[in-house]
Symmetry: C2
Subunit: 312 residues, 2 copies
């Protein structure tokens, strides 16, 4: 994997957070969370050059950053500021199908102003995690002609900052979001039509993440769909979408091109990393993976979806 | 297709009904509906020998039966009784994602007692539509060693007639149901575990239909998943599951074996027929198809799901 990589670099701008997660497996406090934590870790299996821009408070355990550094992730862009780390408190329903947010304390994340180092400005692939669309655009403007810019967003920005978001989307190659967000952004329930409208806003591909219904990729002239791998043991869906994004970006960096066939495979690699993530709390499901384990699960997706192309 | 078929015969026992359907495209009254109407029509593209056992009232338009006969379907088992035809009245939400039942008038269907002709008793494949599980078992007992018995059921029977249903499942090869029904039957939210429990009840395969999230097939030692084809124009989801079942059974009859690879392909053919059905009201989406149109949509599923099996 990363030893054979084309060695494209990935810059991840997002949150590094602490989560309290309640649900059928009890309350788990102060778990490492945040989009960048999942994305960078998932991507780090596929390319040697992943760097993070984020902010944490002075309450943030140093060992989390040390561990990322040991994985080869450039953590020099994780700024430590006086104050509390972004803290999310959520509770999952007994079946893990739905969750409610009990508390969100933005802490130092409220004044996050991503500043790229000279090296980060030259990143080949840029992932803009779920932050204010104006900050996302500011990051794009700091970069020097990246090969691919991908962006995640959420209902809060779509509903309350649409004009800014649409301006930012004009600068983006790939948008990743869930089905309800796609419908809200396009103001259209039908996902085909919603994707077509989003493609008119700027991105050349749209990835619609659908949880246990899998994921869809829309691009001009094509659509790709992959079911989620049915899993016996799901403990914590937090970070599934971000782990998908990390595997997706990591594979694109590894492959070094963005042809439709490559992006399709990246969708599978994203699904693979998401399937690992949900089996454990926090980033634990992404720990200790290797080429063999990742290949084995990739092959399970191949087996899951295989059918003979018959002539009827 | 059916000209090359192994010519296995299919018996379909179920409802032939009239539907009133309200929703974003207005009210449509007295549409041909009922599980057997969709299943037999979808299956008829794949094998010459489809017969139906059902009951209609004296208000049922004769031309619906004539049209089925013209398609080569044996309709001599559609009994006409004095009284009203089974009539369902439903209303879809503007996004077609949910529906409510406004009225159900069972009419002559309330006393439906399926009686197989000597020829029907020798059917190779038997599909037991969504009726009382005791009646379903009674049909099985009238048959003479069919190669495959498939069964559909619903929450009403799972909740209220579980003991009878479980007794019937012991006689069944393939169970088709939706995800909520699978969870209810297995008393387990996780679909992997739910499917494993259902396989312990008798069936050797379970097909879980998930609407626009596609479908899953579980069998001992394997699982297959197919996304739904994203469609631009969906008018009426009524009959989608039954059209799936018809394509599924039709392909198995055509192929003449029930190996996992064949059943996987049958899942795609089922998805193909469901995708046609939802584009029009009633059975209109299943009208006027031919081998070319069906092959073309099958190929769209192949394109939808194709990715390269890479070594990472």
């Amino acid at each position: 994997m990363k030893n054979n990589s084309a060695h494209r670099s990935i810059l991840v701008v997002g949150s590094v957070a602490l989560d309290d997660i309640d649900g059928p497996f009890g309350m788990h406090r102060d778990l490492l969370g945040g989009s960048a934590s999942f994305i960078a870790r998932a991507a780090s299996y596929f390319t040697r050059d992943v760097s993070v821009v984020a902010v944490v408070g002075d309450d943030f355990p140093a060992h989390h950053v040390d561990e990322m550094t040991e994985l080869g992730i450039d953590t020099t862009g994780i700024e430590r500021k006086s104050g509390e780390t972004f803290h999310w408190v959520g509770k999952y329903a007994p079946d893990l199908a739905t969750r409610e947010t009990l508390d969100t304390r933005l802490g130092v994340f409220a004044t996050f102003q991503p500043l790229l180092s000279p090296r980060q400005r030259k990143a080949d692939l840029v992932f803009l995690g779920n932050i204010h669309p104006t900050l996302q655009r500011d990051v794009v403007e700091q970069t020097e002609r990246p090969l691919l810019v991908a962006l995640d967003t959420m209902n809060f920005w779509i509903g309350g900052h649409r004009v800014e978001l649409v301006k930012t989307l004009a600068r983006v190659n790939t948008l990743l979001l869930n089905d309800e967000e796609a419908r809200q952004l396009a103001e259209e329930h039908n996902l085909c039509k919603a994707a077509a409208r989003i493609l008119e806003m700027g991105p050349t591909s749209v990835v619609i993440k659908r949880g246990d219904a899998g994921a869809l990729l829309f691009y001009p002239g094509g659509v790709f769909g992959v079911p989620a791998l049915p899993l016996e043991d799901v403990r914590d869906p937090t970070g599934a979408g971000d782990s998908f994004a990390g595997g997706f970006m990591g594979y694109l960096a590894y492959a070094g091109n963005f042809e439709p066939q490559t992006v399709r495979t990246a969708m599978i690699v994203g699904s693979v990393m998401a399937s690992f993530a949900v089996e454990q709390f926090s980033v634990d499901g992404l720990r200790g993976l290797d080429a063999g384990k990742i290949q084995s699960r990739f092959d399970r997706f191949a087996e899951l979806t295989h059918f003979e192309r018959v002539r009827l």
